[in-house]
Symmetry: none
Subunit: 414 residues, 2 copies
């Protein structure tokens, strides 16, 4: 039996709604995409609800689903994913939190939740947090992210995410909250809350007189003198990708969040030099890295972030340009893929230029490769996909659709 490889090529937020400024066309309809259209003729289209019809999803929940993990069963909040996204090594069972560096006064009243949107030196502050050391046997791991943001991991026995999410008051002028167990009597949650409250207190102790904050105050800037964790969740006990699907996977993605998730799932995250995650990204480098990944692994995920960035900016021309660039990259890949690799082209969600945010519209899915049953599609876009032969299904099944066409899937039953 001939086995094939597979490429899941995702234009982040590439799907969209009809736009008045484009005469009622979507960006995909308005873009010139000869290679994707050729693949549509040689393959089949359909609509995909990456999580469920009408559901507005993030890139994290959608990628979980697209890789074969039900996000409704496994998603435990942003915290653990945030930690994965900044490059921390997250372990199953870790408690993860998003954090802000903030400014408080002596009475623990929040003066500035974003510490003047501090940009420089947060790595030094993170170092100070990491020197706090274990609290009641619980390891404390911290890493700075962009501006005032950071991620926190608590690692140890007897922790629980069943705690209130009120340390950060989400408003300036209000006191830092004290975390507690959601259910009184939940010993693990009470212990976790106690550790977390103690950590927040100690972060103030180590940061308030930190040289960097002295400098900031001297310059008239708000000191980053505390960390305020929020959005805590337990890193889910997910099987690795190769355990779920029986094959190894490579990953060429630009966004930290998805890179972190892929790493957590045991995928081989490969760097494309010059991939910026923005409109100026180097698609030729991404193309070359995808081919290198396909040399090493039977399954490769590639996510190009640009269309999402353009749509968040409300910039239809930039989104169209990005889509056309992705079409060019796909065209350059086609000769190497043809007859060898099953390709799925899709978006992880729609990002509407009109709303400048993710929407819950279905995304167009193209399947192109050996043994794909062709349909009558002539072009790759939302409207063609809504009449495609694949009809409509949920993103959770896409990985099985691919491993089926790759001829590598275990049989369920006899």
């Amino acid at each position: 039996m001939r086995k094939y490889k597979a490429l899941m090529l995702i234009g982040d937020g590439m799907a969209d709604r009809p736009l008045a400024e484009l005469g009622g066309k979507t960006c995909l309809e308005a873009a010139r995409t000869p290679h994707l259209d050729q693949a549509a003729k040689e393959g089949a289209l359909g609509l995909l609800d990456t999580v469920a019809p009408g559901l507005r999803v993030g890139s994290d929940t959608s990628h979980l689903a697209l890789l074969g993990y039900d996000p409704r069963a496994t998603y435990t909040g942003r915290g653990p994913l945030e930690a994965m996204g900044v490059g921390m090594e997250v372990r199953r069972g870790d408690l993860g939190f998003r954090c802000n560096f903030s400014t408080v006064d002596d009475n623990m009243t929040v003066i500035d939740r974003r510490a003047g949107r501090i940009r420089e030196g947060t790595d030094r502050l993170a170092e100070a947090i990491n020197q706090i050391g274990p609290i009641e046997g619980v390891q404390v791991l911290f890493k700075e992210s962009t501006e005032h943001r950071g991620a926190l991991i608590l690692r140890g026995e007897g922790l629980s995410a069943e705690i209130t999410d009120n340390i950060d008051p989400h408003e300036d002028g209000r006191p830092v909250g004290r975390c507690a167990a959601l259910e009184p009597g939940n010993k693990e949650a009470e212990f976790t809350a106690q550790v977390l409250n103690e950590l927040v207190r100690r972060s103030y102790e180590v940061l308030k007189d930190h040289p960097l904050n002295k400098e900031r105050q001297a310059a008239g800037e708000n000191p980053a003198n505390i960390i305020l964790p929020r959005g805590g969740g337990t890193a889910p006990h997910l099987k690795f990708f190769h355990e779920v699907h029986g094959i190894s996977a490579g990953c060429v993605v630009e966004v930290g969040l998805i890179r972190g998730l892929a790493r957590y799932l045991g995928m081989d995250v490969m760097d494309a030099p010059g991939a910026t995650g923005s409109l100026d990204t180097d698609l030729d480098s991404i193309r070359a890295t995808v081919l290198a990944a396909l040399d090493k692994h039977p399954f490769v995920l590639c996510n190009v972030k640009g269309p999402d960035v353009a749509a968040h900016n409300g910039d239809a021309p930039a989104k169209i340009k990005m889509i056309e660039a992705i079409d060019g990259m796909f065209g350059a890949l086609m000769p190497a893929l043809k007859g060898e690799v099953v390709v799925a082209v899709l978006a992880d969600h729609a990002t509407a230029v009109s709303t400048r945010d993710h929407t819950g519209d279905p995304v167009p899915l193209l399947l192109w490769g050996p043994e794909v049953l062709t349909d009558t599609s002539e072009a790759y876009h939302e409207r063609a996909a809504s009449h495609g032969g694949l009809n409509r299904f949920a993103g959770l099944h896409l990985s099985h659709v691919l491993t089926n066409l790759m001829n590598v899937q275990e049989k369920f039953g006899a």
Copy 2:
């Protein structure tokens, strides 16, 4: 309100992928099927994922779904179904196992897992196993299957399938394993493991000097001197078909596995003389038995095995011939069914001539009968179905689609 009967007509493994040797057509597209095409014009088509999109399934899991039972919730491994398939009367809660007759030496090392692929006399060996009698109050029931295969049932109080699956070492030259509880401290599992280990030991005692084995050894053949159970599972607590759907059902199927499942679900399994389950089956006999079944029951399941057999052989011409024979049988049924019976024609899964195995591709579903909303379909095959008016849904719903069109379904809600 006029009530109708229903026929679920399954060409086993009839769906397929496009084949180069057929100019990119599937076997269904290449076959001449005037009667099914006529029904497509008078009815409606769609794609069915018998279990879920992309999932490679067996006939057991797919038939569970098609009859209204979620296999992901109820499928407990091959053991119980194997016992049903060889015609044993399986009861809810029984522990079922697949077994091999094997050859071991005095040190319980496996010399030949298949006992020289023994063909004759396994009924006599089964009789010896059945005379072992209850072990610690647990009934032991055994039945031989083809060649070295058999099925075992343990029946009694306090049994659990939460045991290791290591008695059969799955390789010659290795010792027979000792089964244990998966979780230490699980008393029922520990008891079950103890009973099973004792049964394996006693099977050696009653078989090692069995006259048949003396004959085999005299002829230089490996004795079938032990049974090695594997793939244990608890027969699921499924409701009977008539409890789920409120109507009785008949069943005309060729394969032991599906016959056993149908019997377990309380369906009336009717024999079609001359039905061989292979390419030489007597479709006229099957046709007559289907009509007899429809006289007795409002719902009838018919499965013709031939297309699957041909596809497993990689034989497209034989598969096409079998499809055309099924079309002929359907044509002969049409006058009797017209206006009286809602018919669903489908496959339980695709079996690809190219891979010679089941694949996870969707199957074409035809609905034909009174009050079916027609679509624009002109022929019955995968590609037409991918643009059919029924769109795409999961096999678990098909039984409801039928009882709805039969006008016999209880209302859910007010």
